[in-house]
């Protein structure tokens, strides 16, 4: 028996008992729905409650819990009349989720008052102290609607890696946000492959009028980096000032000394590594990577050229 499962079962039971005590005669249906119970499990849990109680463990010491004619009864359990307080992570999870949904503009009307009441108990003296923002950029609602209705969409997309603009027909599956960016996962008809697009790099999105059969099991909405055989492997030495790169990007750390971290990353185009290296200035040094040094030099020259400087 794994501890998380036991903890969840115990939590569910200790949350359900106060409700049953406060609402005598609740129906099994309601309890099952409200507390996300499996019917058999509810019966089992109530049977367990029936044999527990206070030392002595005689008829007057044990709790009473049973189902009769589809009604649930719990008595003699007043010490479990109140739910357990929220843990810090639960309070934060609720408040953060509520605030995030509020700021997305997608929340139901009762969310505002719910968040306000919740906040009054978990942050009684600090209503401006915790802020969670999850604003929705342009095109998120349109792409979400297209995913829901199964509409094919023509997008004008600018590649994050190369800046190349393409027009593609996509079958959008899901819109999601992670680490501050919004994405749409889709079947890309132009690439004839699954793709995940950053929505802030989609300039326009027009439904074509054509529909597609929604995928039965769309892949989990997440940004997967799928290494490709055409990828460039790049090795970079980071000084202490650039050490954050090792945590911020999906990289392999291959060596760490006192003040130098050596990382290896896989990039779809040398331009990605080149921008990173120019951005890091003298706090990073390229060790190895096919065509990367040339791309860095070329990028530097192109930028400096705008200022009419030729090195």
């Amino acid at each position: 028996m794994s501890a998380p499962r036991t903890a969840r079962r115990l939590n569910r039971l200790l949350a359900t008992l106060p409700w049953l005590i406060a609402n005598p005669g609740s129906s099994v249906d309601e309890v099952v729905e409200r507390f996300d119970y499996d019917r058999d499990q509810l019966a089992k849990d109530l049977a367990t409650v029936f044999v527990c109680g206070l030392p002595g463990y005689g008829p007057g010491d044990l709790m009473v819990a049973y189902i009769d004619e589809d009604e649930v009864t719990v008595e003699m359990a007043d010490y479990f009349a109140r739910p357990v307080r929220l843990t810090a992570i639960e309070a934060l999870g609720l408040l953060a989720a509520g605030r995030a949904l509020q700021s997305s503009g997608q929340g139901p009307p009762a969310l505002d008052s719910a968040v306000e009441k919740l906040q009054r108990v978990v942050l009684p003296d600090a209503d401006e102290a915790v802020v969670v923002e999850l604003p929705e950029p342009p095109l998120v609602p349109e792409l979400r609607a297209a995913a829901e209705s199964g509409s094919v969409v023509t997008v004008e997309h600018s590649s994050v890696a190369t800046g190349v603009v393409t027009i593609r027909d996509i079958e959008p599956w899901a819109v999601f946000s992670t680490l501050g960016n919004w994405y749409v996962s889709a079947w890309c008809r132009s690439a004839v492959a699954e793709r995940v697009f950053r929505i802030d790099r989609i300039r326009t999105a027009e439904v074509t009028g054509e529909t597609f059969a929604p995928k039965e099991e769309p892949p989990k909405p997440e940004v997967r980096y799928t290494p490709n055989e055409d990828d460039t492997q790049v090795t970079i030495r980071l000084s202490e000032r650039a050490g954050w790169v090792a945590e911020h990007y999906p990289v392999d750390i291959i060596d760490v000394t006192d003040d130098v971290t050596t990382i290896r990353m896989s990039v779809s185009d040398p331009a990605v590594a080149a921008r990173l290296l120019v951005r890091l200035g003298d706090s990073a040094e390229l060790v190895d990577g096919f065509n990367v040094a040339e791309t860095v030099a070329e990028l530097r020259n192109r930028i400096l050229h705008r200022y009419e400087i030729v090195d």
Binding site: W19, C52, F80, A96, G107, E133, S177, L179, E240
Partner: protein
Amino acid sequence: MQKVIERILNLLAFLLTADHPVSAEEIRYTVAGYDDKGDEAFRRTFERDKDLLRQIGVPLRLVATDVFEVEHGYVVPQAEYALDDPGLTEEERTALALAVQAVRFGGQPSGPDAILKLGGAIAADSVVPVGADLGAEADMVAEVFSAVADRRSATFDYRGRTRVVHAYGLVHRRGHWYLVGPEAGDIVKVYRLDRAENLHVGDRDAFERPSGFRARDAVATMPWDQGTEALRATIHFDPEVAWIAERELGVSESVTRFEDGGIDVVLEVGAVPPLLSWLIGFEDRAVILEPAHLINQFVEFVRSGS
């Protein structure tokens, strides 16, 4: 598991009704489910059970029972044990239940177990398809949250130095979590939590939060807002990238549009390095028009790694 649940319900019922701190020994010989175990088995079982209770939020504490602090006993104070009920309506519970489905935290749902404590929820017809993740450092963020809620200080390593910060506020913006607060006697600063290490929090009520403190105002909207440089920069974006720049900047900045689709944007800059880093993302399709010293700084920076 049946036995575990039984034993823990008996233990918790006993602790909640005991009128004195109870020793492990007393628990062993009084509470059903422990009495049949040998010394070592009892010790292990009791440790596991305590962990389980604490995991779900039960405030189980060991207190001294004599003035010399030789004897100790366990207590679960009723007042602290019970949920401080926010008094949600059915609609409000359902709204929060939707929120925790829509928003994940470190890949996990952000609080289905907590919704049960609030009285569960009747499933709503509409499913909110936001599908957002608030990042991977959920445990650390929760620690900081408790520091903010209980006015504790947070101690952590940051950029090569250990800081002790009064946790005034917590902000999630642009995909990152920030702790906002001052070190003792210093000004309020902002710390990105994914760059903090070895974080732990101190005792409650360690400081007074200034009245009217707004965490929102402390964290920069754009990374170059934070800082004291106070310079005004004009930047040109070529037509191919102008729309990307405008989206990232939002609508508040002053923009001049050209016929070819290019734009000039005037930015108030508090800190130069983050601005330069952002501009490099546009490669050679963005160019600083003024001031001259910013151009020099940029050129020097672009050359610096070669």
